[in-house]
């Protein structure tokens, strides 16, 4: 199993996660990376993704695990020759089986394109958004794991995985509460974290340690 860490930026950040899932088989077919398929009536390619990043956000920490016998370096090169700039792979890892990044994800770091400021969560932080046909108001403060100064910009660690907080919703909440003008298209996702044996670590670290 080869895991590629890739970016999703430029025009590619407007491609939805679902569309990209479908597209990945095409990318690997034109890259001539032999992907193993499931058995059964409707065989599908054995490729596995990290959790979706919200549409419009620039991501530098997307992962796809590919079940193939091809060497990592070769997969990496071939993949990069078959994708546009906005989807380039930046690193590759090898592991024995599906690392299940999606299932293990707990948080992710984002940088918002706004000067660093103190985000006060003592009274909670609410945001209203449309869910199907209805508008819901949610206190999202519990899903903000922390904030940090990222070279003068506002860095945040948000819950990811099953109890996910979408970065665009936090941007909306901050814009409303603090009168900021954070645009979703300027948010960058920098790191994805997973929980392994009770320890939170970056996916890169986890993949390097996994045999």
């Amino acid at each position: 199993m080869i895991v590629l860490k890739y970016v999703k930026t430029l025009d590619a950040r407007f491609i939805s996660h679902i569309d990209l899932l479908k597209h990945m088989s095409r990318i690997l077919r034109r890259a001539v990376v032999p992907v193993k398929h499931s058995q059964g009536f409707n065989p599908h390619a054995l490729i596995f993704f990290s959790p979706p990043t919200v549409l419009g956000v620039n991501s530098y920490a997307e992962y796809v695990a590919i079940d193939t016998d091809m060497k990592g370096e070769e997969v990496f090169t071939r993949y990069n020759n078959s994708v546009p700039e906005g989807l380039k792979a930046i690193e590759w890892f090898e592991c024995a089986k599906n690392p299940n990044i999606q299932g293990k994800s707990v948080s992710a770091d984002y940088v918002f394109d706004v000067d660093y400021f103190d985000v006060d969560l003592s009274d909670g932080l609410t945001v209203t958004y449309k869910k199907k046909e209805d508008f819901v108001t949610e206190d999202i403060s519990g899903k903000i794991c922390g904030t940090f100064n990222a070279d003068g910009r506002l860095g945040v660690r948000l819950a990811s995985g099953n109890n996910n907080l979408r970065a665009d919703r936090l941007a909306t909440a901050l814009n409303e509460k603090y009168g900021k003008d954070i645009k979703v298209t300027t948010i960058a996702k920098l790191c994805q974290y997973v929980l392994v044996d009770g320890v939170e670590k970056s996916v890169d670290e986890y993949l390097r340690e996994t045999p």
């Binding site: 025009d11 491609i15 419009g56 546009p84 645009k183 298209t185």
Partner: protein, 588 residues
């Protein structure tokens, strides 16, 4: 990044499916090369439909492969995006480089069918380009249109500086060369158009002399005609999301209602070797998971089995699927059924009885319908059947014949498979008399009559278990006839309908019949003038176009139809339609 692109990126998250508007598809050609002239293809429907159009992919490739020219694309923005563009004072932009349409040398609309006419205006309006050619000065690009609707361009001709009639591969390049020369030598638009008239297939509405004819452009050497082996790969799911192989142009069947069957003559086949080579190249360059075959009657392609044989190992190695659309019952074989995936089969008998099938020259016999049994033997449990209601001379008996066919298939299935779970889906369109067919003079049945016949059929089908019935809108069919057989008087009607809010008429959620009724009324034009029977001695608005097939031949076919006499398939011998004067018919 240009300023427009930046602004577009900012509004993208407030519209549905933003990936429709960003471009950046794999295999996008170099848009930065030095060039003499720039073309923008406009497709008056949404991205997912436009990206599925093979003709546009071919022409896009032809222009971009030329060292002197660049072609970009623009699809009709969905109404939410259209509103956002207006709200932000942004003009309609090309997909590749976010260039306003006004800044191109030539803007070419691909008009695929009549219900897109309102979107033609919607796109011009968003691009801040005046609708009528007469109102556009030298500062505007040359606006042209082509595609299947160019068979009768009169309703939209006043919006165009020129209309490209027929196949665009050579015509588009010739026009671009002329425009580039004109740019370099300082010619006026009128001077360019005066010369453009000389290009085969180019119709300049403002300069057509009395009695002058425009001959449809035809690619004579189809075997070696350019084909996009590196087509664009969409980033989102589109309607035809696969590699498409065009096997041949034209059709040998001569179904009397079928415009494409006459318009795309002469028949020109591409060799199976070449098709297989193109298919492999397309999969390698795109990574598509499916190859589909495209032509008017795929299973009539003489090289079908050779092509299948040639592609089979490649298909298996790459784990891709191979689809066979548009099957004719008479040419369907068990081998075909076995070599494709057993999901559902599609056939088009078009009419319920042998008598009516003879009238329309759909040479499918009752025995051949029994051919579907081969599909049941091969394991199929589901059949889709296409029919038309309102065909000339149709009686209630013909309509009930459709239910009879369903019953026969159920019985056949039971005899072969000893099971009763066959699914039949019957889909019915309304007959639309189209220009350049033997039925171009026919009347269309009234709205009330459409509904009566539809209800008769629905009732009959309800009695048969496992049959589902779907139906194509009656009102859109009336409008389609009026626009298809229209003349220049309809241009103001289209403008009025657009002013009243018509757009995306091919989408049921947007089609508004009342708007069109109002528009005809406001312009003092009677829709019935275009929907009723046309006298044979009348000069037709499209008579000035020479599509190869003679009017005399079409008239002869009409008379044969009324006698219930069929015309043989062109493969059994030439019927003398006249199309081979434009290029050699490769099957005769």
């Amino acid at each position: 990044m240009n300023e427009y692109k930046k602004k577009i990126d900012e509004i993208l998250l407030s519209v549905e499916k933003p990936a429709r508007y960003v471009g950046g598809e794999w295999n996008t050609p170099d848009m930065t090369k030095p060039h003499r002239a720039k073309f923008c293809f406009c497709f008056p429907d949404v991205y997912e439909i436009g990206m599925s159009n093979l003709g546009l992919q071919i022409l896009y490739d032809v222009i971009n492969s030329h060292p002197d020219f660049i072609a970009e694309r623009c699809y009709a923005p969905w109404p939410d995006m259209g509103a956002k563009l207006r709200e932000n004072n942004l003009p309609l932009l090309s997909l590749e480089t976010a260039t306003p349409l006004k800044d191109f040398d030539v803007v070419g609309f691909s008009v695929q069918f009549e219900l897109l006419y309102s979107n033609f205006l919607y796109m011009l309006d968003l691009a801040n380009i005046p609708f009528y050619a007469k109102d556009r000065g030298e500062e505007y690009p040359i606006i042209c249109a082509g595609g299947p609707c160019a068979v009768n361009p009169e309703p939209f001709a006043p919006f165009c500086d020129c209309v490209l009639i027929g196949e665009g591969e050579e015509m588009d390049l010739a026009l671009l060369k002329l425009v580039a020369d004109g740019k370099e030598k300082g010619w006026t638009k009128a001077q360019i158009l005066e010369k453009a008239k000389e290009i085969e297939g180019v119709y300049v509405p403002s300069m057509l002399g009395e009695g002058e004819k425009v001959v449809k452009a035809v690619v004579k050497d189809f075997e070696n005609a350019p084909y996009p082996t590196k087509p664009l790969v969409p980033n989102i799911e589109i309607v035809h999301d696969r590699a498409t192989l065009e096997l041949y142009r034209g059709c040998a069947s001569g179904c009397r209602f079928c415009q494409a069957g006459y318009y795309y003559r002469p028949i020109r086949e591409r060799s199976p070797e070449k098709c297989a080579e193109y298919g492999k190249k397309m999969i390698d360059s795109t990574g598509f998971g499916e190859i589909s075959l495209c032509s008017l009657s795929t299973s009539d392609y003489t090289g079908l089995m050779d092509l299948e044989k040639e592609l089979r190992p490649f298909i298996e190695e790459k784990k891709i699927t191979f689809a066979l659309p548009s099957l004719r019952l008479s040419s369907f074989t068990k081998e075909m059924a076995q070599s494709s995936r057993k999901s559902s089969l599609t056939f088009a008998p078009e009419a319920g009885t042998q008598r009516l099938r003879n009238v329309i020259n759909k040479n499918v016999t009752d025995e051949e319908i029994d051919n579907i049994g081969r599909a049941f033997e091969a394991g199929y449990d589901s059949v889709k059947l296409y029919f038309m209601l309102g065909l000339p001379t149709e009686t209630d008996e013909d309509i009930l014949g459709i239910a009879e066919i369903c019953r026969r298939l159920k019985k056949l299935y039971f005899e072969i498979r000893h099971k009763k779970n066959l699914n039949i889906s019957v889909s019915c369109a309304v007959f639309i008399p189209k220009p350049s067919t033997p039925f171009q003079w026919e009347e269309q049945i009234s709205l009330d009559e459409m509904l009566r016949r539809q209800s008769l059929l629905r009732k009959a089908l309800r009695e048969i278990k496992g049959v589902s019935f779907s139906w194509h809108g009656a009102e859109t069919s009336v409008l389609e006839v009026a626009l298809a057989r229209g003349d220049k008087r309809l241009a103001p009607v289209i403008v009025r309908a657009y002013e009243l809010g018509a757009m995306f008429d091919s989408w049921t959620e947007y089609f508004n019949w009342d708007i069109w009724v109002q528009a005809f009324k406001d312009c003092g034009v009677d829709m019935q003038d275009y929907v009723g029977e046309i006298s044979e001695d009348k000069v037709l608005p499209w008579d000035f176009i020479d599509i190869g097939v003679s009017k005399k031949y079409l008239l002869g076919q009409r008379h044969l139809a009324y006698q219930g006499i069929t015309t043989k398939n062109c493969r059994e011998g030439c019927n003398g339609c006249g199309a081979n004067k434009l290029g050699r018919c490769t099957i005769t």
